[in-house]
């Protein structure tokens, strides 16, 4: 059977091949089914409206982050600074309320994210530096900024109206869920129905072809980073509102989890494929994983281990899938 230099090939149309392709393409879907199945046997109350809504609520922040990040990954880059943006904008949204009205503070937090995204875009696209390491450095830098701003103590919010944003609900549906749905719709429309979105796919799919087709590649990819930063700014503000504090500790794993969630959902790091709904599904896998692990009373250190293993497995699978399409030499 013909193979290539570094790996195996799946040939033919046998059942094995079909299953393999399906699992690889629908990783998120399969993972969710597996978890749902496992939970059928759990004694705890997984299948309750309260729990499911709660799960959605807690994943909302990650979802909003993922919508922005998806744009950069589809365009062939990535954004690991979102954790840093998240915490700093969250802190800013609270601290700035001391000197300006709440609405302005909120706007400032989002604008902060936009500015950081602009810088990321400048370095990654215009200057053609590797986005993964640049955004990683940026995330680190911002984490330091966050720690400096808070002196490692969480900053409590004082304004009850602020707290309502993240915790209130409208006829039973949490605000956060509604905001997430709106963001989802917006991002989805952007990617599916505008030239901008289409161009991102082209740029990620084949940069040179996109360039030759007259697409303004630099400008378009740059904007993807700006949007990702802005989404992170928004998410940070919302998180602070939900927890009613601005803290610097949430950034660390977030960037990795979100980027991985996007990949799980079917958007590959190679770029050019995937989309908003897929990313949403991918992030839900992680949200569900947390919930499921809690329900199954898995001890917290094991949870961390399991999550780490899942992340490694996902990226490994993504690389492995890429291997089929890319030959060495």
């Amino acid at each position: 059977m013909a193979g290539n230099a570094i790996g195996v090939r799946v040939t033919g149309n046998g059942v094995g091949a079909r299953v393999y392709t399906f699992v690889m393409r629908q990783k998120a879907f399969v993972a969710i089914i597996v978890m749902l199945a496992v939970m059928l046997f759990s004694p705890r109350h997984f299948y309750t409206a309260y729990n499911l809504l709660d799960m959605l609520n807690s994943t909302s922040i990650l979802l909003i982050l993922s919508f922005g990040v998806t744009l950069t990954i589809i365009a062939g880059g990535c954004d690991l600074s979102i954790g840093g943006i998240l915490v700093v904008s969250g802190i800013l949204s609270i601290k700035l309320q001391d000197v300006m009205p709440m609405e302005l503070a909120i706007a400032a937090a989002v604008i902060f994210g936009v500015v950081v995204g602009f810088v990321n875009g400048f370095l990654s696209v215009h200057q053609k530096t590797e986005p993964f390491i640049i955004t990683l450095g940026m995330g680190l830098l911002l984490t330091g900024v966050a720690q400096q701003l808070t002196d490692a103590h969480p900053v409590p919010a004082k304004n009850p109206a602020f707290m309502m944003i993240g915790n209130g609900d409208f006829h039973g549906v949490p605000n956060l869920v509604m905001i997430t749905v709106v963001c989802f719709a917006l991002a989805f429309w952007l990617m599916r129905y505008t030239q901008f979105g289409r161009n991102l796919y082209a740029i990620g799919g084949d940069y040179e072809v996109a360039r030759y087709s007259g697409i303004p590649v630099i400008r378009t990819k740059w904007i993807a980073f700006v949007i990702s930063g802005g989404a992170a700014g928004l998410a940070g503000m919302l998180l602070s509102s939900k927890l009613n504090t601005g803290s610097s500790i949430y950034g660390d794993l977030t960037a990795l989890v979100v980027n991985c969630g996007v990949v799980v959902g079917g958007t590959s790091f190679a770029g050019g494929i995937g989309g908003i709904p897929q990313s949403g599904l991918g992030l839900l896998v992680f949200g569900m994983l947390d919930n499921v692990m809690n329900m199954l009373a898995i001890r917290s250190y094991y949870q961390v281990l399991l999550k780490g293993l899942v992340i490694v497995a996902i990226i490994w699978l993504d690389c492995f899938a890429q291997k089929r399409r890319r030959e060495f030499v």
């Binding site: 505008t194 799919g205 087709s213 007259g214 030959e327």
Partner: protein, 526 residues
């Protein structure tokens, strides 16, 4: 002239060290299918890149006149706006996107940035119908065959309201049926008033579809006429115009050849990396003898590189067949094994595959030899004491050996610590050559060794080749420059679409026959 849709007047273009186009005149009448033929490197693509604006106004001399007005194109979009659309040999489609998306890539039907997909779908269907494609416009490009992809490209061009359609080797990757279909589409387009420029090596297609033909050779127009003029154009006439008289004093006298068989290949088959069932090389068998230069001729894409890269072990297990070297059967799965068995491969893409650009000459020349000479008894009269012992490099010896090769190959550099990316193309090629010579191969495979190199350096390389075979080595010379192959090789194999179509002795066979075999036409010995 008013019935010319465009004229290119006195177009000249230079690249460092080479004049690609030399006062080329190219005039095409409105509504005709005009073929542009010539060997690889004759200037066809360059001419079209000038026309399409890829080489913008200012980077060439001469005039481009479209519909009576002189035009200055600065970007591809400029030429597209003038109705000129190029369909490249390497398809410009984004494989993961759908047909509709690709048809309108970069020129979507949109208002204020918002795409009207409904309208796009309708329009896409219209254009697909024009080219006779009955596929779902929402299907991803990667899922339809190459033949259909080619048609999608044409639909894309039509959607841009192309008046002048340039097709560069459009049927290179197509089978019989798809090719015929494509040609029919072109005839239909002609009936609708679209002018086509048809660049192709497939001369029988040219005969069947073209109204006029222009032959380029060495960057100059050697003939431009309608098919009917001058007693009618034939394939044979085109070939002789393309090839010209090949014998000039650009080559050293050919060495006499042949001792015993050093390598034999039997039933060698190679599969495509992605299209798993497709064979790129089909059941090839041949031999090479000691002291011989075996030339490999054929079109680009015929499979010459694939054949020898696979024999060299670069494609892992994607290949199958029997290889015997010095009478012993060998199983080569990695370039490492090949090198151990006395093979060396100087690849086409020296920058990508042959050199580590950021490193110096010293490291690059010894690049392939560290391992080999590390084995016990690895030192030879050639290199003196071993370069490495127990994994430790003898740097002094490295320097001595490198200097020897720099001298022998006349590599021009102030020092061996010069980074190779600062060298000229010719000198870079010599570094790669030195690298392989240092491994003392029994069989040296050279893939386009003189591409992009000036005439003087070329001659030096030819002399080297001669010296190598006179000393008992064997060389496999893959080249798209037919004169080079004919003048240097003792024996020539022609490859077409993955098969050996002929074996010739250049002294004894007329050029035309060899050319025909390379083009897959009837004839050809063996």
């Amino acid at each position: 002239m008013s019935d010319h849709i465009f004229e290119m007047e006195n177009i000249s273009k230079d690249f460092p060290g080479v004049r690609a186009l030399d006062s080329v005149n190219f005039r095409v009448k409105k509504g005709e299918i005009h073929a542009l033929v010539g060997e690889n490197g004759a200037g066809k693509s360059t001419l079209m890149k000038v026309l399409s604006g890829l080489y913008p106004y200012g980077s060439y001399s001469g005039r481009i006149i479209i519909n009576g007005t002189e035009r200055h194109f600065h970007t591809i979009k400029d030429s597209e706006r003038a109705g000129v659309v190029v369909i490249y040999q390497e398809l410009a489609l984004v494989k993961q996107l759908s047909i509709t998306e690709n048809i309108f890539l970069g020129s979507e039907i949109a208002r204020n940035g918002v795409i009207n997909w409904d309208l796009a779908l309708v329009e896409a269907r219209k254009w697909l119908q024009e080219v006779g494609l009955t596929v779902d416009p929402m299907e991803k490009v990667v899922n339809i065959g190459v033949g259909k992809q080619q048609l999608v490209e044409i639909a894309k061009a039509l959607a841009k309201n192309a008046e002048i359609l340039i097709l560069d080797e459009p049927t290179a990757a197509l089978n019989e049926e798809d090719s015929r279909h494509l040609l029919n589409i072109l005839r239909q387009l002609k009936a609708k008033g679209v002018t086509c420029i048809y660049i192709s090596h497939k001369l029988e297609e040219v005969m069947s579809i073209a109204d006029s033909v222009t032959v380029l050779r060495d960057g100059q127009t050697v003939r431009s006429q309608t098919m009917a003029e001058n007693g009618g154009m034939t394939e044979a006439k085109m070939i002789s115009l393309m090839v010209g008289r090949t014998l000039e004093q650009r080559y050293p006298r050919k060495p006499h050849q042949s001792g015993e068989v050093v390598m034999e290949v039997r039933n060698w088959t190679v599969w495509h990396p992605e299209l798993v069932e497709k064979e790129v090389i089909k059941d090839v068998s041949f031999q090479i003898r000691k002291g011989e230069i075996l030339g490999i001729a054929g079109l680009m894409g015929a499979g010459r590189t694939e054949l020898f890269m696979s024999l060299f072990g670069a494609y892992g297990s994607r290949s199958q067949g029997e290889v015997t070297i010095h009478g012993r059967k060998v199983d080569i799965r990695e370039p490492r094994h090949a090198i151990q068995n006395g093979l060396s491969y100087l690849s086409e893409d020296r920058k990508g595959n042959g050199l580590v650009l950021g490193m110096d000459i010293l490291s690059n020349i010894t690049l392939a030899s560290l391992r080999k000479l590390a084995s016990p008894g690895g030192g030879t009269a050639e290199t003196g004491p071993q370069l490495t012992r127990a994994g430790v490099i003898n740097i002094l010896q490295e320097v001595v050996v490198t200097n020897r090769y720099v001298q022998r190959l006349a590599i021009k550099t102030p020092s061996i610590e010069q980074k190779v990316n600062n060298l000229s193309g010719g000198n870079q090629q010599k570094v790669v050559l030195a690298k392989w010579l240092l491994t003392q191969p029994a069989i040296l495979i050279l893939d386009e060794p003189t591409r992009g190199i000036d005439v003087g350096a070329k001659y030096e390389i030819y002399l080297l080749m001669k010296r190598i075979v006179e000393a008992g080595g064997s060389i496999i010379l893959i080249s798209s420059e037919l004169p080079e192959v004919l003048n240097m090789a003792n024996r020539v194999l022609t490859i077409f679409e993955g098969r050996v179509t002929g074996e010739f002795y250049p002294e004894k066979t007329p050029v035309d026959e060899i050319m025909k075999a390379a083009l897959g036409l009837e004839g050809g010995a063996a």
